[in-house]
Symmetry: D2
Subunit: 374 residues, 4 copies
């Protein structure tokens, strides 16, 4: 148990179920002095909000973030920030028929196996609504990173067989289409594909790609808390993620060393740069000063309208038909969740890296002219 | 910093550099009463030992494990187990020429950026020798798991473009060839491929696949410490790993829900089974009682004999030629490292799962007829 | 930062300020199946509630606990339990005059030094209201312990110079007087003493004693996470605590070994008992099956009506007079806080102890007839 | 289990038993660039070394520290520092007669209760030799602190009834007498007292006092990881410690607020100082810039030559006579252990405090002109 906390210094604990009274998060370890408002958080929550397009669940939630602590006169105080999002639209009736039946591809059976029973209303803690808390915390992490010149950007790379073309890549296009794809043509094709899947009472998966710019070299802790290993943990912990790649990922396994090694060169102002980025900005688990690039593979939405074979709690083979409101694809709403998990990971490792060198620590404390003697 | 520890209850801390006095590990949280000898550990270390084939570095190390604490009269005592492997063959001279030059694809530059300087002898802490400590700890974890009926098995799935065929899969073959491939024909083809790469002063990558059998359902902690997210962290923390997949992985992103959902059925003795395993044995981050299947993508060995472009510590563009002893492919020696990281992850989550239900806790303590009153 | 979480398996994260929107706690790692209602928590909160006696602050708070997650159909689900207590009576005006002045004996100056500014309303996070979250979590821990036959009991041992007499010790008396003293005569004397202090615009301290009954031997983790060291941490973390003793405490430092050693004897049903308890139930940091006994020393309430010398944020010497509502003694309301911290510590160590022996682990998993194969 | 690690950023894991092959420690999170040699560690180990006086065990151990990793060319590299001290004088025979008998005041019974059996040779992991690892790590922490202008100093305050006089306090005297007492007259009296106890086949306890100078204000994390609560944990985790006090400790419980509050004043260069130090340098769990003062109560050595009543593993009442080499008082050798635990605690909290304010973080990263773009 006790798996609902992530981070060592910037520490995030989430709570809440799909059809309980709400979901929320406590952030402990956010430095004092960051300007923070409920609007800052709302902007991120709105990006994952349901009910915004044909391809997202019809459930209507205000998803209004309330900051309950840790902010005073518009700034963080250094004490825990508690953020609450009340559940307002919770038609539990929809789920009564699946109370005793294990939905394929869902966590119903495994929660029962683990806890002896479960909150069967809409998946309870295993619902996608759990990610609201991640996004709320991620919004704070992103604001922190921006104040240090670091930016996290994710988008839909593919849906089903439809993958964006590097030639047509246009980040601004991302926010213009409902699939968060930075390529209008592929987005249009993917939309048609999704409509087809919906007509077939089926669903689709896809890939989210994310990059991080402005990260200084030296971030990541050998040997277990490497930047890429903690990104992998954070990203794979998102429901429905089945794969993670950094840089060239599985392609690197087929490449030769002479191709895969990124040559170093002296760049502008004497900086060390690389002439390619197969590594995805990480060497030995530590950021190399270049762009961090990673990908997450999402499985198709498990809730499909088609009749499926399963068993019930009484141990009988039964058929199941899942009604209710479900996205035919999770990916577009998951884009901001991936950004959130990346930001949480980077902030925490950034803070950890502050103690890697004695000279910097001495300078840090030497500058604070506050030494006192009694 | 402080990244050299993994696990919450079964806690493993590693130390040591390639050319220092040795490498080692402290395991805290191993239960008392496990029979454990140095031979148990040696068996695993021997599987990653260099100098065993043409495709492995010529460095000759005894790699002899010594147990310094935590075992008494052949059994673990419940106190920390300290395991030491001395470095015996450390030709540091080999590395003097790369002292001031950053090898492409290595952690030389990032260690310097992080720490201000580095132990340049053979990669120091970023060397593959660091994995000795993982394997030693993994040997203990595997023994523990076996005593509970759980088995971890990994093998080489592919090297470069050569991937094993499901039709020819033969696990016993794995230990007969030098590439740890459970398919003799592909192994032969991959050997030829590696010889070609060596002749070209180049190197290759590959994929390791791992499965875990006998794991009861209910293991894994929502929402951040899921079984798959912690496997991802553990596996991606291995040097040279660039990708992780659970179950169908990136293929799932292209599939439809109707295909990807694994139907449940009632099996032998009323057990809940699935008629397919696209999920890889994990639902909602919790084991479902089926086989756990995951893969790790390894990049090609970065040390290649070919001349490469890079920079030195003085900020000049230079050429580098890497001499010394290096494997043209890491994958075969990494197989046991993958098993080790999987075992460490599973043991820790298994122990965490013991407190998921009050009824089981009550039974646990009720059975111990040792309550005392003063 | 990140100091608002306690526990490894039974993990408690608190948040909230005196005059923000509320205070709360997230409990992660509570096993599924514990019957839990808001009334269970309220019973404990009511014991620390202000406004109940002459010696407690006049502030009137409903202090109503709301369970926002983790409980379904009257039972814990194994997922995080979020408990919220809204602040309802927050006359912030009272504190405006101390906005720029550091109250002696308070954390005003140190919070400013740490965070650069602070929420000056009523102490913010350093207020005694922070303990509401501890007590709410402690109520859950106590309920868990009771279901395992373990009971935690605290009471006021002394106020100022007035200490209870062992001869008159009567636990039922504890709940009959306003000072939580299990000795009516001393309570009456202490009441007179407190009235005197109030008339002098002064305050008093005191000692809380706590014992834990029913704890099985074997609880506590050598060498840093001993039962007594974690009790010390938990108890000293309560605001105003300046000392901690286990067993004979500082008296033991004056005793001889021949007196201080507790002889073992064979007791009822062959149990190992001791004929004295100078150790307080802990040997080598591990419970010995006897009663755990410890004490906490509380300093006098720092808020006194008398004029005091101090400095302001502008660095000038000034006088300060503290108005507002303050207890002349903290101790009676702190009794339930001590119980809470003891219970949190014991639950967590109890859970950790479940993996100390392989034979018990094997039995635990062997009993679960749920192994599955795919 | 897993109790052998302490610290969040500066993380220390110890291992080893009294009569195994050695004891040791792994320090993870020590910044790069600290000059460190085996002599630095030896100086601290020599202060706790046995065989130095009539009042310390006759056991002769070289207690030679070897640094196995983490130091290169005389400086720490930022990677884990592994320190090993081999056991060289281990007359196990001495302990054969207590193999099946529980020594009163020792952890024999509780280890058996916890683990099912124990390493009975000299107490195994519960032996005082375990503190070698604490002292070795503490030596590194002290060196780090000194490089930041912070000094930790402990001494024997009392032995049995003999307590040093404030009037005769002379820190230099501490290192001149065998009891580590900064008062020659009391030391002489205590020596006579100890000889008496030895003649009576008995033992004595005592109190160690420690202060920390030069610590900047702002160190300590509310609410659970306060400076004083973590000092309490660290100090009470030392075997034989039964009490902890910060500042006036238990005396504060008897005082009035008007006496106990330390008035603030403007001091030299505008610094905030206090005109008394009843608080011991901590307000709200955060350092106030003044001297930190705390005390630890040690119980009398449990190993005494006198016949004692106890039980054996077979559950029979028996008598026991303990032979072997034992100190009649632990306190003098524990002084350096207290310093070590204080230093470990302070370093860790110092590092944690570096992220308490955004402005300082921005300055920290802004100063590093190493940002790179790919």
């Amino acid at each position: 148990m006790a798996g609902s906390t992530i981070g060592t210094i910037f520490r995030v604990s989430t709570w809440g179920e799909s059809h309980g009274r709400g979901v929320g998060v406590v952030i402990d370890g956010c430095p004092a002095g960051l300007e923070l408002s409920e609007e800052d958080i709302q902007r991120y929550l709105d990006r994952r909000k349901p009910g915004q397009s044909r391809f997202a669940t019809k459930r209507q939630e205000a998803d209004q973030a309330q900051i309950l602590s840790g902010v005073f006169e518009g700034k963080t105080t250094g004490t825990p920030i508690s953020i609450l999002v009340l559940n307002t639209d919770q038609r539990s009736r929809d789920y009564s028929n699946i109370m005793d039946v294990y939905r394929p591809g869902h966590a119903d059976y495994t929660f029962d196996a683990k806890y002896g029973f479960r909150d069967y209303r809409g998946g309870g803690r295993s619902s996608g609504r759990e990610t609201i808390a991640r996004v709320a915390a991620g919004a704070v992490a992103c604001k922190l990173l921006e104040s240090l010149g670091i930016e996290v950007t994710a988008y839909t790379k593919s849906i089903g067989p439809w993958e964006i073309s590097p030639d047509r890549f246009d980040l601004e296009e991302r926010d213009r289409n409902r699939l968060y794809m930075p390529d209008a043509q592929t987005a249009a094709e993917a939309e048609r594909y999704l409509e087809e899947k919906m007509a077939q009472m089926d669903s689709a998966g896809g890939v989210v790609e994310c990059f991080i710019d402005g990260l200084m070299p030296g971030i990541g802790e050998p040997v277990f808390d490497k930047l890429d290993s903690l990104l992998a943990k954070a990203v794979v912990s998102i429901g429905a993620v089945k794969g993670f790649e950094i840089g060239d990922g599985f392609e690197a396994a087929k490449a030769c060393g002479s191709h895969n090694n990124d040559p170093f060169r002296v760049g502008h102002r004497g900086r060390v740069i690389k002439t390619s980025n197969h590594a995805g900005g990480v060497l030995g688990g530590i950021s190399d000063g270049g762009r961090i690039v990673f990908r997450a593979a999402f499985k198709p939405t498990p809730s499909i309208a088609r009749t499926q074979s399963t068993v019930n709690r009484q141990g009988e083979n039964v058929d199941i038909q899942i009604h209710g409101r479900h996205d035919p694809v999770i990916v577009p709403r998951a884009v901001v969740v991936v950004e959130a998990m990346a930001a949480l990971t980077v902030v925490d490792l950034l803070f950890q890296s502050m103690t890697s060198r004695l000279d910097r620590i001495q300078k840090f404390f030497g500058n604070n002219e506050e030494k006192n003697s009694y």
